[in-house]
Symmetry: C2
Amino acid sequence: MMKTSDKRSDVVQAALELIAEKGFHGAPMAEIAEKAGVGAGTIYRYFENKDILITELHKELEAKITAALLDGYPVEQPLRERFLYAMREVFRYFITYPLHFRYMEQYFNSPYGITLHRDRLLGKSGDPDILMDIFEQGADQQVLKALPTSVLFSIAFGSLTLLMRDHIIGFISLDNHLIDGITEACWDAIKK
Amino acid sequence: MMKTSDKRSDVVQAALELIAEKGFHGAPMAEIAEKAGVGAGTIYRYFENKDILITELHKELEAKITAALLDGYPVEQPLRERFLYAMREVFRYFITYPLHFRYMEQYFNSPYGITLHRDRLLGKSGDPDILMDIFEQGADQQVLKALPTSVLFSIAFGSLTLLMRDHIIGFISLDNHLIDGITEACWDAIKK
DNA sequence: CCTCAAGGAGTGAATATTCATTCCGGAAGG
DNA sequence: CCTTCCGGAATGAATATTCACTCCTTGAGG
Protein backbone atom coordinates (compact mmCIF):
# COMPACT_ATOMS: atom_id res chain seq x y z
CA MET A 1 0.00 0.00 0.00
CA MET A 2 1.36 3.37 -1.03
CA LYS A 3 1.53 5.81 1.83
CA THR A 4 0.44 9.23 0.71
CA SER A 5 2.61 10.85 3.34
CA ASP A 6 5.78 9.53 4.82
CA LYS A 7 6.57 11.60 7.87
CA ARG A 8 10.21 10.67 7.86
CA SER A 9 10.81 11.99 4.39
CA ASP A 10 8.72 15.04 5.16
CA VAL A 11 11.10 15.76 8.00
CA VAL A 12 14.14 15.14 5.83
CA GLN A 13 12.86 17.43 3.11
CA ALA A 14 11.99 20.19 5.56
CA ALA A 15 15.38 19.91 7.22
CA LEU A 16 17.12 20.02 3.86
CA GLU A 17 15.33 23.19 2.83
CA LEU A 18 15.73 25.01 6.10
CA ILE A 19 19.34 24.07 6.71
CA ALA A 20 20.38 24.74 3.13
CA GLU A 21 18.84 28.19 3.30
CA LYS A 22 19.61 29.26 6.81
CA GLY A 23 22.33 27.01 8.16
CA PHE A 24 22.29 24.55 11.01
CA HIS A 25 21.70 27.25 13.55
CA GLY A 26 18.98 28.92 11.55
CA ALA A 27 17.00 25.71 11.55
CA PRO A 28 15.54 24.97 14.98
CA MET A 29 13.89 21.61 15.38
CA ALA A 30 10.58 23.34 16.07
CA GLU A 31 10.72 25.06 12.72
CA ILE A 32 11.73 21.89 10.91
CA ALA A 33 8.77 20.17 12.51
CA GLU A 34 6.41 22.93 11.53
CA LYS A 35 7.64 22.99 7.94
CA ALA A 36 7.30 19.22 7.76
CA GLY A 37 3.76 19.46 9.09
CA VAL A 38 4.68 17.25 12.00
CA GLY A 39 4.81 17.47 15.76
CA ALA A 40 8.12 18.42 17.28
CA GLY A 41 8.40 15.11 19.04
CA THR A 42 7.79 13.16 15.88
CA ILE A 43 11.22 13.99 14.56
CA TYR A 44 12.69 12.10 17.48
CA ARG A 45 10.85 8.97 16.50
CA TYR A 46 13.01 8.81 13.38
CA PHE A 47 16.20 10.54 14.47
CA GLU A 48 17.76 10.20 17.85
CA ASN A 49 18.82 13.82 17.89
CA LYS A 50 19.62 16.76 15.66
CA ASP A 51 23.17 15.65 14.97
CA ILE A 52 21.98 12.33 13.68
CA LEU A 53 19.35 13.97 11.53
CA ILE A 54 22.08 16.14 10.05
CA THR A 55 24.55 13.37 9.29
CA GLU A 56 21.82 11.09 8.00
CA LEU A 57 20.67 13.75 5.59
CA HIS A 58 24.24 14.19 4.46
CA LYS A 59 24.57 10.50 3.73
CA GLU A 60 21.39 10.46 1.69
CA LEU A 61 22.51 13.38 -0.41
CA GLU A 62 25.93 11.94 -0.98
CA ALA A 63 24.44 8.69 -2.16
CA LYS A 64 22.30 10.53 -4.68
CA ILE A 65 25.22 12.53 -5.98
CA THR A 66 27.39 9.46 -6.37
CA ALA A 67 24.61 7.69 -8.22
CA ALA A 68 24.14 10.63 -10.57
CA LEU A 69 27.86 10.73 -11.24
CA LEU A 70 28.12 7.02 -11.93
CA ASP A 71 25.17 7.07 -14.28
CA GLY A 72 26.53 7.37 -17.80
CA TYR A 73 30.14 7.61 -16.66
CA PRO A 74 32.32 6.86 -19.69
CA VAL A 75 34.57 4.26 -18.11
CA GLU A 76 36.29 3.39 -21.36
CA GLN A 77 37.13 6.89 -22.50
CA PRO A 78 40.55 8.44 -21.98
CA LEU A 79 41.36 10.25 -18.79
CA ARG A 80 40.69 13.71 -20.12
CA GLU A 81 37.18 12.84 -21.25
CA ARG A 82 36.39 11.17 -17.97
CA PHE A 83 37.61 14.15 -16.03
CA LEU A 84 35.60 16.60 -18.10
CA TYR A 85 32.56 14.38 -17.81
CA ALA A 86 32.82 14.11 -14.06
CA MET A 87 33.29 17.83 -13.52
CA ARG A 88 30.44 18.74 -15.81
CA GLU A 89 28.20 16.18 -14.23
CA VAL A 90 28.82 17.54 -10.75
CA PHE A 91 28.10 21.03 -11.99
CA ARG A 92 24.93 19.89 -13.61
CA TYR A 93 23.78 17.98 -10.56
CA PHE A 94 24.26 20.92 -8.24
CA ILE A 95 22.67 23.33 -10.67
CA THR A 96 19.66 21.07 -10.78
CA TYR A 97 19.60 20.68 -7.00
CA PRO A 98 20.96 23.90 -5.55
CA LEU A 99 19.61 22.99 -2.14
CA HIS A 100 21.79 19.92 -2.16
CA PHE A 101 24.80 22.05 -2.89
CA ARG A 102 24.00 24.50 -0.14
CA TYR A 103 23.47 21.69 2.29
CA MET A 104 26.71 19.95 1.41
CA GLU A 105 28.50 23.23 1.76
CA GLN A 106 27.06 23.81 5.20
CA TYR A 107 27.98 20.33 6.19
CA PHE A 108 31.47 20.60 4.84
CA ASN A 109 32.07 23.86 6.68
CA SER A 110 31.20 22.46 10.07
CA PRO A 111 32.75 20.18 12.63
CA TYR A 112 30.95 17.25 11.01
CA GLY A 113 32.50 17.90 7.64
CA ILE A 114 35.97 18.59 8.94
CA THR A 115 36.34 15.17 10.51
CA LEU A 116 34.70 13.51 7.53
CA HIS A 117 37.14 15.24 5.22
CA ARG A 118 40.08 14.18 7.34
CA ASP A 119 38.93 10.57 7.34
CA ARG A 120 38.35 10.62 3.62
CA LEU A 121 41.82 11.94 2.87
CA LEU A 122 43.27 9.27 5.06
CA GLY A 123 41.31 6.70 3.09
CA LYS A 124 39.19 5.74 6.06
CA SER A 125 36.02 5.92 4.01
CA GLY A 126 34.90 2.88 2.10
CA ASP A 127 33.56 4.27 -1.12
CA PRO A 128 35.97 4.50 -4.03
CA ASP A 129 35.93 8.04 -5.32
CA ILE A 130 35.71 8.49 -9.08
CA LEU A 131 37.65 11.72 -9.00
CA MET A 132 40.41 10.31 -6.86
CA ASP A 133 40.72 7.37 -9.22
CA ILE A 134 41.11 9.70 -12.17
CA PHE A 135 43.84 11.64 -10.46
CA GLU A 136 45.72 8.55 -9.39
CA GLN A 137 45.61 7.06 -12.86
CA GLY A 138 46.70 10.38 -14.26
CA ALA A 139 49.72 10.34 -12.03
CA ASP A 140 50.62 6.80 -13.16
CA GLN A 141 50.18 7.59 -16.83
CA GLN A 142 52.08 10.84 -16.42
CA VAL A 143 49.46 12.88 -18.21
CA LEU A 144 48.87 15.00 -15.15
CA LYS A 145 51.21 17.34 -13.34
CA ALA A 146 53.45 15.82 -10.73
CA LEU A 147 51.41 17.10 -7.80
CA PRO A 148 49.86 15.10 -4.98
CA THR A 149 46.47 13.61 -5.77
CA SER A 150 44.76 15.68 -3.13
CA VAL A 151 46.24 18.85 -4.60
CA LEU A 152 44.87 18.05 -8.03
CA PHE A 153 41.54 17.42 -6.39
CA SER A 154 41.55 20.73 -4.59
CA ILE A 155 42.42 22.64 -7.72
CA ALA A 156 39.45 21.19 -9.55
CA PHE A 157 36.93 21.20 -6.75
CA GLY A 158 37.87 24.38 -5.03
CA SER A 159 36.97 26.18 -8.21
CA LEU A 160 33.72 24.35 -8.51
CA THR A 161 32.65 25.34 -5.02
CA LEU A 162 33.13 29.07 -5.41
CA LEU A 163 31.58 29.03 -8.85
CA MET A 164 28.49 27.21 -7.67
CA ARG A 165 28.15 29.79 -4.96
CA ASP A 166 28.24 32.66 -7.42
CA HIS A 167 25.78 30.84 -9.61
CA ILE A 168 23.34 30.33 -6.78
CA ILE A 169 23.41 33.93 -5.62
CA GLY A 170 22.75 34.77 -9.24
CA PHE A 171 25.94 36.60 -9.94
CA ILE A 172 26.97 34.35 -12.78
CA SER A 173 24.92 31.99 -14.86
CA LEU A 174 26.48 28.60 -15.34
CA ASP A 175 25.15 27.67 -18.74
CA ASN A 176 26.60 24.78 -20.71
CA HIS A 177 28.99 26.96 -22.61
CA LEU A 178 30.47 28.50 -19.50
CA ILE A 179 30.72 25.14 -17.81
CA ASP A 180 32.65 23.81 -20.76
CA GLY A 181 35.06 26.71 -20.56
CA ILE A 182 35.55 26.21 -16.85
CA THR A 183 36.12 22.49 -17.00
CA GLU A 184 38.64 22.97 -19.81
CA ALA A 185 40.41 25.55 -17.69
CA CYS A 186 40.58 23.10 -14.81
CA TRP A 187 41.95 20.48 -17.12
CA ASP A 188 44.65 22.91 -18.24
CA ALA A 189 45.49 23.40 -14.59
CA ILE A 190 46.06 19.75 -13.83
CA LYS A 191 47.32 18.36 -17.16
CA LYS A 192 51.07 18.17 -17.65
CA MET B 1 51.92 55.96 27.23
CA MET B 2 52.32 52.26 26.51
CA LYS B 3 49.65 50.20 28.15
CA THR B 4 51.05 46.88 29.31
CA SER B 5 47.70 45.26 28.73
CA ASP B 6 45.13 46.45 26.31
CA LYS B 7 41.89 44.72 27.13
CA ARG B 8 40.42 45.44 23.75
CA SER B 9 43.13 43.61 21.90
CA ASP B 10 43.06 40.80 24.44
CA VAL B 11 39.41 40.36 23.58
CA VAL B 12 40.09 40.50 19.87
CA GLN B 13 42.85 37.94 20.14
CA ALA B 14 40.76 35.59 22.25
CA ALA B 15 37.84 35.91 19.87
CA LEU B 16 40.09 35.23 16.92
CA GLU B 17 41.46 32.07 18.44
CA LEU B 18 38.17 30.69 19.66
CA ILE B 19 36.16 31.49 16.57
CA ALA B 20 38.87 30.27 14.22
CA GLU B 21 39.02 26.98 16.05
CA LYS B 22 35.42 26.36 16.93
CA GLY B 23 33.29 28.63 14.79
CA PHE B 24 30.96 31.43 15.77
CA HIS B 25 28.66 29.13 17.66
CA GLY B 26 31.46 27.39 19.46
CA ALA B 27 32.67 30.66 20.87
CA PRO B 28 30.29 31.96 23.54
CA MET B 29 30.97 35.43 24.86
CA ALA B 30 31.63 34.01 28.30
CA GLU B 31 34.39 31.83 26.95
CA ILE B 32 35.92 34.64 24.93
CA ALA B 33 35.94 36.74 28.09
CA GLU B 34 37.58 34.00 30.09
CA LYS B 35 40.25 33.38 27.48
CA ALA B 36 40.93 37.10 27.29
CA GLY B 37 41.25 37.24 31.07
CA VAL B 38 38.44 39.73 31.24
CA GLY B 39 34.97 39.96 32.69
CA ALA B 40 32.08 39.07 30.45
CA GLY B 41 30.71 42.58 30.69
CA THR B 42 34.01 44.17 29.71
CA ILE B 43 33.65 43.00 26.15
CA TYR B 44 30.61 45.21 25.83
CA ARG B 45 32.65 48.26 26.72
CA TYR B 46 34.50 47.82 23.45
CA PHE B 47 31.96 46.13 21.22
CA GLU B 48 28.29 46.88 21.21
CA ASN B 49 27.41 43.25 20.65
CA LYS B 50 28.76 40.01 19.29
CA ASP B 51 27.95 40.79 15.68
CA ILE B 52 29.96 43.96 15.84
CA LEU B 53 32.87 42.18 17.46
CA ILE B 54 32.78 39.66 14.63
CA THR B 55 32.66 42.14 11.77
CA GLU B 56 35.22 44.38 13.43
CA LEU B 57 37.61 41.49 13.74
CA HIS B 58 37.02 40.67 10.11
CA LYS B 59 37.91 44.21 9.07
CA GLU B 60 41.12 44.16 11.06
CA LEU B 61 42.23 40.91 9.51
CA GLU B 62 41.38 42.02 6.03
CA ALA B 63 43.42 45.19 6.50
CA LYS B 64 46.42 43.15 7.59
CA ILE B 65 46.14 40.80 4.66
CA THR B 66 45.82 43.62 2.16
CA ALA B 67 48.85 45.32 3.68
CA ALA B 68 50.90 42.13 3.47
CA LEU B 69 49.88 41.68 -0.15
CA LEU B 70 50.69 45.24 -1.12
CA ASP B 71 54.09 45.12 0.54
CA GLY B 72 56.62 44.27 -2.11
CA TYR B 73 54.02 43.88 -4.85
CA PRO B 74 55.84 44.07 -8.18
CA VAL B 75 53.66 46.69 -9.85
CA GLU B 76 55.90 46.99 -12.86
CA GLN B 77 56.26 43.30 -13.65
CA PRO B 78 54.19 41.58 -16.33
CA LEU B 79 50.82 40.15 -15.50
CA ARG B 80 52.03 36.60 -15.03
CA GLU B 81 54.61 37.58 -12.44
CA ARG B 82 52.16 39.71 -10.56
CA PHE B 83 49.64 36.92 -10.48
CA LEU B 84 52.16 34.39 -9.24
CA TYR B 85 53.42 36.85 -6.66
CA ALA B 86 49.95 37.59 -5.35
CA MET B 87 48.97 33.95 -5.09
CA ARG B 88 52.17 32.97 -3.37
CA GLU B 89 51.93 35.89 -1.00
CA VAL B 90 48.42 34.97 0.04
CA PHE B 91 49.53 31.38 0.60
CA ARG B 92 52.46 32.55 2.64
CA TYR B 93 50.38 34.92 4.71
CA PHE B 94 47.83 32.30 5.61
CA ILE B 95 50.48 29.71 6.33
CA THR B 96 52.07 32.16 8.72
CA TYR B 97 48.72 33.02 10.30
CA PRO B 98 46.55 29.94 10.03
CA LEU B 99 44.11 31.36 12.54
CA HIS B 100 43.50 34.26 10.22
CA PHE B 101 42.67 31.83 7.46
CA ARG B 102 40.29 29.86 9.60
CA TYR B 103 38.60 33.00 10.78
CA MET B 104 38.16 34.38 7.29
CA GLU B 105 36.78 31.05 6.21
CA GLN B 106 34.24 31.04 9.01
CA TYR B 107 33.27 34.57 8.20
CA PHE B 108 32.96 33.87 4.54
CA ASN B 109 30.72 30.87 5.17
CA SER B 110 28.19 32.78 7.20
CA PRO B 111 25.44 35.28 6.62
CA TYR B 112 27.96 38.08 7.17
CA GLY B 113 30.24 36.84 4.44
CA ILE B 114 27.52 36.09 1.95
CA THR B 115 26.30 39.66 1.81
CA LEU B 116 29.85 40.98 1.83
CA HIS B 117 30.68 38.74 -1.09
CA ARG B 118 27.65 39.87 -3.02
CA ASP B 119 28.49 43.53 -2.46
CA ARG B 120 32.06 42.97 -3.48
CA LEU B 121 31.14 41.27 -6.71
CA LEU B 122 28.82 44.13 -7.49
CA GLY B 123 31.69 46.54 -6.85
CA LYS B 124 30.01 48.08 -3.84
CA SER B 125 33.15 47.83 -1.78
CA GLY B 126 35.57 50.69 -1.87
CA ASP B 127 38.94 48.97 -1.89
CA PRO B 128 40.42 48.13 -5.26
CA ASP B 129 41.27 44.46 -5.28
CA ILE B 130 44.69 43.52 -6.58
CA LEU B 131 43.51 40.19 -7.89
CA MET B 132 40.50 41.65 -9.64
CA ASP B 133 42.73 44.24 -11.28
CA ILE B 134 45.01 41.53 -12.56
CA PHE B 135 42.13 39.61 -14.05
CA GLU B 136 40.62 42.67 -15.67
CA GLN B 137 43.89 43.71 -17.22
CA GLY B 138 44.43 40.15 -18.37
CA ALA B 139 41.12 40.24 -20.16
CA ASP B 140 42.03 43.52 -21.89
CA GLN B 141 45.46 42.32 -22.93
CA GLN B 142 44.00 38.99 -24.06
CA VAL B 143 46.60 36.94 -22.20
CA LEU B 144 43.91 35.30 -20.09
CA LYS B 145 41.09 33.03 -21.16
CA ALA B 146 37.89 34.67 -22.26
CA LEU B 147 36.04 33.94 -19.04
CA PRO B 148 34.30 36.39 -16.71
CA THR B 149 36.60 38.03 -14.20
CA SER B 150 34.79 36.47 -11.29
CA VAL B 151 35.23 33.03 -12.82
CA LEU B 152 38.97 33.50 -13.12
CA PHE B 153 38.97 34.61 -9.53
CA SER B 154 37.06 31.56 -8.36
CA ILE B 155 39.39 29.22 -10.18
CA ALA B 156 42.41 30.66 -8.44
CA PHE B 157 40.95 31.22 -5.03
CA GLY B 158 38.76 28.18 -4.77
CA SER B 159 41.86 26.08 -5.13
CA LEU B 160 43.70 28.12 -2.56
CA THR B 161 40.94 27.66 -0.03
CA LEU B 162 40.79 23.90 -0.17
CA LEU B 163 44.55 23.61 -0.21
CA MET B 164 44.96 25.81 2.83
CA ARG B 165 42.45 23.63 4.59
CA ASP B 166 44.39 20.49 3.84
CA HIS B 167 47.56 22.19 4.92
CA ILE B 168 46.10 23.27 8.23
CA ILE B 169 44.74 19.86 9.10
CA GLY B 170 48.23 18.60 8.30
CA PHE B 171 47.35 16.44 5.36
CA ILE B 172 49.63 18.22 2.96
CA SER B 173 52.57 20.43 3.66
CA LEU B 174 52.62 23.60 1.61
CA ASP B 175 56.33 24.19 1.28
CA ASN B 176 57.71 26.70 -1.21
CA HIS B 177 58.21 24.09 -3.87
CA LEU B 178 54.64 22.86 -3.71
CA ILE B 179 53.28 26.39 -3.63
CA ASP B 180 55.22 27.16 -6.79
CA GLY B 181 53.77 24.12 -8.50
CA ILE B 182 50.26 25.06 -7.45
CA THR B 183 50.45 28.68 -8.49
CA GLU B 184 51.84 27.63 -11.86
CA ALA B 185 48.97 25.21 -12.24
CA CYS B 186 46.51 27.99 -11.48
CA TRP B 187 48.21 30.18 -14.02
CA ASP B 188 47.84 27.42 -16.61
CA ALA B 189 44.17 27.33 -15.77
CA ILE B 190 43.54 31.00 -16.42
CA LYS B 191 46.08 31.84 -19.14
CA LYS B 192 44.97 31.68 -22.73
C1' DC C 1 -20.15 -7.78 10.46
C1' DC C 2 -19.51 -5.51 14.88
C1' DT C 3 -16.92 -4.48 19.23
C1' DC C 4 -13.22 -3.47 21.63
C1' DA C 5 -8.67 -3.75 23.49
C1' DA C 6 -3.72 -3.47 22.47
C1' DG C 7 0.09 -1.26 20.45
C1' DG C 8 2.42 2.11 18.49
C1' DA C 9 2.72 6.45 15.87
C1' DG C 10 2.11 11.22 16.65
C1' DT C 11 1.74 15.37 19.52
C1' DG C 12 3.13 19.64 21.79
C1' DA C 13 3.42 21.65 26.34
C1' DA C 14 6.89 21.44 29.87
C1' DT C 15 11.76 21.14 31.02
C1' DA C 16 16.56 21.88 31.09
C1' DT C 17 20.24 24.04 29.08
C1' DT C 18 22.88 27.37 26.82
C1' DC C 19 23.80 31.97 25.62
C1' DA C 20 24.02 37.06 24.74
C1' DT C 21 23.38 40.94 27.18
C1' DT C 22 22.54 43.88 31.30
C1' DC C 23 23.44 45.96 35.58
C1' DC C 24 25.17 47.22 39.78
C1' DG C 25 28.68 47.00 43.38
C1' DG C 26 33.23 47.91 43.82
C1' DA C 27 38.33 48.82 42.45
C1' DA C 28 41.61 51.97 40.53
C1' DG C 29 43.34 56.26 39.69
C1' DG C 30 43.07 61.13 39.61
C1' DC D 1 35.46 62.15 46.71
C1' DC D 2 34.47 61.44 41.93
C1' DT D 3 34.99 59.31 37.62
C1' DT D 4 36.18 55.75 34.82
C1' DC D 5 36.73 51.08 34.20
C1' DC D 6 35.74 46.19 35.48
C1' DG D 7 33.80 41.93 36.86
C1' DG D 8 30.70 38.44 36.98
C1' DA D 9 26.27 37.17 38.94
C1' DA D 10 21.55 37.80 37.30
C1' DT D 11 18.28 37.94 33.51
C1' DG D 12 15.62 36.57 29.80
C1' DA D 13 15.29 34.67 25.29
C1' DA D 14 16.06 30.80 22.39
C1' DT D 15 16.43 25.86 21.84
C1' DA D 16 16.96 20.84 21.98
C1' DT D 17 14.89 17.21 24.05
C1' DT D 18 11.50 14.67 26.85
C1' DC D 19 7.27 12.53 28.15
C1' DA D 20 2.54 11.92 29.40
C1' DC D 21 -1.15 11.77 26.67
C1' DT D 22 -4.18 11.25 22.35
C1' DC D 23 -5.47 9.22 18.50
C1' DC D 24 -5.57 5.36 14.78
C1' DT D 25 -5.04 1.09 13.05
C1' DT D 26 -5.41 -3.73 13.44
C1' DG D 27 -7.19 -8.02 14.25
C1' DA D 28 -9.16 -11.34 17.68
C1' DG D 29 -13.41 -12.79 19.56
C1' DG D 30 -18.20 -12.71 19.55
